[in-house]
Structure formats: C-alpha cells, structure tokens
Symmetry: C2
Subunit: 427 residues, 2 copies
C-alpha cells in the first residue's frame, strides 16, 4: 500500500472519485448501524438471565448477618455484597460501600458532596475560587460531563501506552492546590484501552499534591473485563499502594456490575480508606436509608463468589473477543500502510480508540452518520467535547452483531479514507 | 378516673410507689420491644413475595415502548412505571420521573442541586447568605436532617387538625425571600396522622412567596396508605392546584412504593410541572444514565395497574389496622381521663403521635428504654431534635406483632403515668 501522503494530487482526485462511488452505494443501503455507546449485546445480557430464577416467592431473603433484605436498613451494603465487590478490585470488604445500579451516580455524589460539604474537613469546593481536575485524554465523556456540570476547570493530560503523562501530572499536582482531582480509568481505559503500568500506578500513589483534598477518581470500570483470559493484564491495587506511599486517603475507587450483569440494574461500589469510608457514610446517612439489598443478595446468590463472577467474565470475553478482533482486522486490512489512522488493539474493556489524521475526526463521524452509522460524537473523548487535534474517535464494538460490526467497520474505514483524501486535497 | 393534676401530693406519692412497683416487674421481664421506626412487618413484606415469581430466566424484559429493561438508558423511567406512579398520586405520567428505591434520596438530590446549581435559573442556594425552610411540627426527622445537613435554618410551624398553621406560613413566605422551602407530609402525616384539609391545600397552592425559587416539598409518602378503606381520606391534587393558583412550578411531589412493596428495594418518583421536570432531567442527565428499569418493570407486572396496587394496600390495611386500634384502645383504657397525654387516632399512615405533659417526653422515652422498649428519641419530630415543650413522642406500631404492641403500649402508658407523676411531684 502507498501511504496517502505520498499520492499525487491526481491520484488523490481519482481515489476520491472511486471512494465516493463506493460511499454512495453504502448510502443507498439504508443501513442502521450503531457503534456509539458501550452497551453489552443481547447475547451478553442473556448470560445473566438465570439471575431472574434466583429468587421465587418462597425465597429466604436473609443476608448472612441476619438482615432481612426486604426491609429498611444497612447503609453500606450487606456483608456478602461488600465481600463480592471487594474481591472484584482486590480490597478489604470494610473499605467498600455497596450502592445502587450506577457507579457514575457515586462519582457524581462524591463530587457534589465535595462541593457542598468538602472532603475530610477541608473547605467545600463551592467556596473556592477555582477547582481544577486533570483529565487524561482521550477519556470517558461522562467523567468530563460531571466535572463540567460543577464548573470544574479541566486540564488535558496526554495518555501514552503505559498510562497518562506522569511527569506532567506530578508537576501540576504538586504545584497547584486548586487541582482537586484526577479522572482515571486505570485498566483497559475508555476509550484508549490502555492499562496503566506498575510504574505509573506507583507514581500515581506517590503523588505529593499541594491540595490536601486532592483525590484520584479511580474508575476501575473494566478491572475484570478481559478479552484474553490467557493474557490477563494486572495492575497494582491502588488503595494499598496509596497507603504504602503515605497517601492512604488520596484515592476513591469505583466499580460496578453494569457490564457484568445488567447495566443500570446491577450493583456498584466505592472503595476507599477507613477515614474516607467513615466520612462518606456519615454524609450518605442524610441521603438514603440504604440501597436495594434484594438486588445485592440476588447478585451474590447468582455468582456465589468472585470465582463465579470470573466464569461469567470468560463468557463475556468469548462474545466480545471476535467483535474486537473483527474491527482490528478489518481496520488493518483496509487502512494498513495508508498512514491515515492509528488504532488501539485492546486486551480488555469496551472500546477501540481510533486516531485519524489531524482535523478529520468530525468529518469521518459525519460521513458515517450520513450513511446510516452512529458513532460517538467526535470530540466526546475530550473535556468540553473539544479535541484540539480533531482526530480521536471512540469505537464501541460490543452491542452490534458480528456481521453488523464487520459492515460497520468497512464503512468506517471507507469514511476514514474519504475524509483523509479530502483533507489532503485541501492542503 | 381522676385527672392526675387533681391528686394531692400524698396521693401522687402513693401512686408513684404503686407505679414503680409495676415498672420494676416490667424491668425484670427482659423485654425487647421496638416501636421506633416505621418499618413494615414481616407479614406485610410477605404480601410482596409473589413479586419474586414475576420474572424467570425466560422472561421478556421489554417495556411497552420496546426498551430492553436489561440495558442502559431511559433517564426518567419506563412509560408503564411512570403511569403507575402517576396514578398513585393523581398526576399525568409526563410529569413524573421514576427513580430508584428511595424517595428520600430524590429529596436530598433536589436540595443538593438547588445548593449547587439553583432552581430554574435562580441563584444557587450555596451562594446565598441564608436559606430557610418552614417545618410543620411534629414532622419527619429525616426531612429535617436533610435540610440541617445543608445548613438550612429551620423554622417550626405548628400543626393543627387540618394541617399546618396557614396564617403563619402565608405571612412568613410572602415576606422573607430567604424562605426557600416548606416540608409537607400532606396526608396521614408523619407522625401527626393529620390530613390536610381542602382549604389548607388550596391555601398552600395559592401562596405568594417572596422567593421565586420557593418550593413545597410535598412528600406524599402515605397517599394511599389508608387504614380504613371505607373511610378513605382524599385531598386535592397539589400539582393542578398550584397550576390553577398561578404557581405551576411551586411544588415538588414525592412518592414511593417503600411501604407498598419493599423498603429500599421498591421504586420512587418525583412529580412536578413541565418546566421543573425538564430542568430536573437536564441535571439528572449528568448524574446517572438511568435507574433500575428491571425493578420498575417487575413492579408494574406485579401490580398490573393502580387497581392492583390498591388491592395490595387493602391487605396492608388489614394487617396494620388492628395494631393501630390496639395502641389507641390501650392508651384510652390506661390514660383516658388522667389528663396526662393526648394522642392521634389516624386513619392512615404509619404513626401515632403522642403528646405528654410538657417536659415529660424525654423521661418517658428513657423509662421505656430502661424496661427494654425502644422508641424514636424524644425531640426527633422537631428540627434540630429540639422539641421546645419536650412533649411529643412518635409511636410506630407497624413492625412488632400485635401481642408485642399490646405489651409495649401498656408499658408505654405506665411510663407516661410514672413520668407524669414525677413531674407533678417536682412542682
């Protein structure tokens, strides 16, 4: 293959005409493809349907400590649910609070309470002139949306193959006490697919923040969402790393079963130090009597323990892996050697991150849309939806069928080519 | 019976000795009674156990609009759940947002967002020097706790047989723009049992608040929790009353199935005007993708519609009514004519409100405790747990068995007598 940049103007014009002809054909097909959101497929959801058999009208809904899960009470989750969620992320159950179906809601609440009441006795953020968060990019749009909603100034941090730019983070965090947080997806990042290296995790844990209320918002959303169970990626456990580094209270970790059982109808958790957990509970106490314990018990009874959950994850991987491989293979087939895009080949998680030539991402997404294929909006992976290079696109291969994914990826590759040719012709 | 106030000192001393002897016997019994919290009894929870049969592993979890309840999406609830909750309170489904298991959490969120982002474009409350709420007393401790947590100044409003003191409310609300809210339990009040009269509801709806962001926090927690289905208490529907009075946006209404199905594992809702609902959704959008739709669908399938829910409420009433009547009958039997206490005889809800002689409530609760019976702390029904007269006690007869309730009420009456005698002897 000849790299597009090495093509003459005439060759580009001719290529553009060819590509446009194929594109017109796609437009005529009336396609309805969607690779926008990281939703499990129906086949994956079916894996959890036996959970609906777990209880019947004669079931005993008593937790192991004697709590009747049908009635009021238990702010931080039943013991067996705390254990299950703790095992998901390798922490102690006493450092876990189990909540409702949405870990995003926990993150929102943590930031909302930091604004209204402050973090561990520090000044509420609403009383500060400026609050800043560091945002490794590309990142998760809903993270950035929460901090944007609260008027937080977000600072882009580049992401490399081993995690975010730690030199820059260390410099900024230690010198600016208005920096209060750092959004992290440490494993199989959304959308980068990046797994933080041991060194990055340890440097994170050893940060010397200027702000005493600086926190890592450690969204371990994909901690066990491996695609290759013979090549599992592991990272050091962040709570104990922070403790070892003398920063026991510096991290809030989040996880959920949204992409293990049912999105929005699973259970979620926050893990943190003893002091943080005590503080969070003392504040949650004003907000809610307790989250849905029946659903907590249903999850525990369904999985038995973390081993049962890992068996379920293998089944998820068997469904997801061919889809990811199809995307990567077709991208390689269609775009390899053209030097008009690079992409991640993740070993887990929910996304493939694609980087086009600068200034092409919006055009690619628009072209896909005009041919019946929805992608996450270009820019969505950056704070304020502003990708300065207009190059990153998040591909979510989980929900469509394998056949749809193949078609969608070919269409996507076509749109990449077309947008790239047009860009080169503009020059 | 001779009223205690008419007894001589000698008679009181002799009575005290007799009562103390009986009290000592109670103390020897090793009782473990609890009339503290408004929890449904096991027998009531059993009514909803067939809900556990609603779904099995072959169930179709598709909502009527085609939404797969197992996956992400739907911020405001599936249509059939909106309809069910709307019918509970007599509003339109489009004015309802269905949330998770806890209406308290919705109230908390409404206040939290008012502090961080303001109400319908008004200044966020966190930027105001002073925010005040009017609090009809006696009232619900968890309402007062939320506003206390946010540093709101709470002002006591007396409650009469037809509702709160409207003259006082009208005067305060119209003259002080720092008054931003009014906590209401309009039907079968907690703990008063009071049902707002039509006139009170209409005067509420027609308030002329000085603050444009003043809101009624209308906690319709017991709207269908009748004890006597042949004597149902109805009140005007507040959303339409507010609209008629030219205050369409002045009310947030809350309800839940916590005391219909399973506390904390039911579904809850907020109802409000079109403008408020749009604003709430635009803010919720940053917080959560959607609440547990499987549980919403489970509830709808279990009840069918509001008629099915009302059938369930009749069964609850059949369990609750004898307990309430036992308490009231024993109080009458034990305390009638003694002029040392008055109590409500509610037609619905979860509580009986008892008013002792001034300055006796704490002593009564303490005496009960020393004989093995837990009551809600004296003062809990007032903001800052401060009952200026030290006279109100909330009795929750729902959870214990009928036999336990009878014993508990006799013990309670004994403690009332003893504390009253001691008080009179102090004089």
């Amino acid at each position: 293959m000849t790299a597009y940049k090495d093509l003459s103007r005439e060759e580009l014009e001719s290529l553009k005409a060819q590509l446009n002809a194929v594109y017109k054909e796609y437009q005529g097909k009336g396609l309805k493809l969607n690779m926008a959101r990281g939703k499990p497929s129906n086949e994956q959801l079916d894996l959890s349907m036996p959970m609906m058999d777990i209880f019947d009208s004669s079931a005993d809904l008593t937790a192991e400590d004697g709590t009747d899960c049908r009635n009021y009470g238990v702010l931080d989750g039943i013991p067996e649910a705390k254990k299950l969620m703790a095992d998901m992320i390798g922490v102690k159950p006493e450092n876990v609070i189990v909540c409702g179906g949405s870990s995003l809601n926990i993150m929102y609440d943590m930031i909302a309470r930091a604004f209204t009441h402050g973090v561990l006795g520090n000044t509420p953020w609403s009383q500060l002139e400026k609050v800043k968060f560091l945002c490794p990019v590309p990142g998760y749009d809903r993270h950035f949306a929460v901090t944007e909603f609260f008027g937080v100034e977000m600072i882009n941090i580049p992401t490399y193959e081993d995690g975010p730019d730690m030199d820059l983070i260390e410099k900024l965090v230690s010198s600016d006490d208005s920096i209060k947080g750092l959004w992290c997806v440490p494993k199989y990042g959304n959308p980068s697919g990046v797994v933080y290296s041991e060194e990055v995790v340890k440097r994170m844990a050893a940060l010397k923040p200027a702000a005493p209320d600086f926190r890592l918002f450690w969204d371990n959303a994909y901690g066990i969402h491996h695609l290759y169970f013979d090549d599992i990626q592991e990272i050091p456990e962040i709570l104990s790393e922070c403790a070892k580094a003398g920063n026991p209270d510096m991290v809030y970790e989040f996880c959920s079963t949204s992409k293990i059982t049912f999105p929005g109808a699973g259970i979620s958790a926050i893990a943190s130090s003893d002091a943080n957990i005590a503080s969070i509970k003392s504040m949650m106490n004003w907000q809610i009597i307790g989250h849905d314990k029946i659903n907590q018990l249903r999850h525990v009874r369904f999985f038995g323990d973390i081993n049962g959950m890992m068996e379920q994850m293998k089944k998820h991987a068997d469904i997801m892996r061919p889809k990811f491989e199809a995307v990567c293979n077709i991208l390689e087939e269609e775009l390899g050697g053209l030097e008009i895009g690079t992409w991640s080949t993740p070993k887990g998680g929910y996304f493939i991150s694609f980087d086009s030539m600068d200034g092409c991402a919006k055009a690619i997404v628009a072209k896909c849309k005009d041919a019946g294929m929805v992608l996450t909006g270009a820019g969505a992976t950056y704070p304020y939806k502003n990708d300065p290079k207009d190059s990153n696109i998040r591909i979510a291969p989980s929900f469509p069928t394998l056949e749809e994914i193949k078609e969608a990826t070919r269409l996507f590759a076509l749109c990449v080519k077309l947008a790239s040719v047009e860009k080169l012709l503009e020059a």
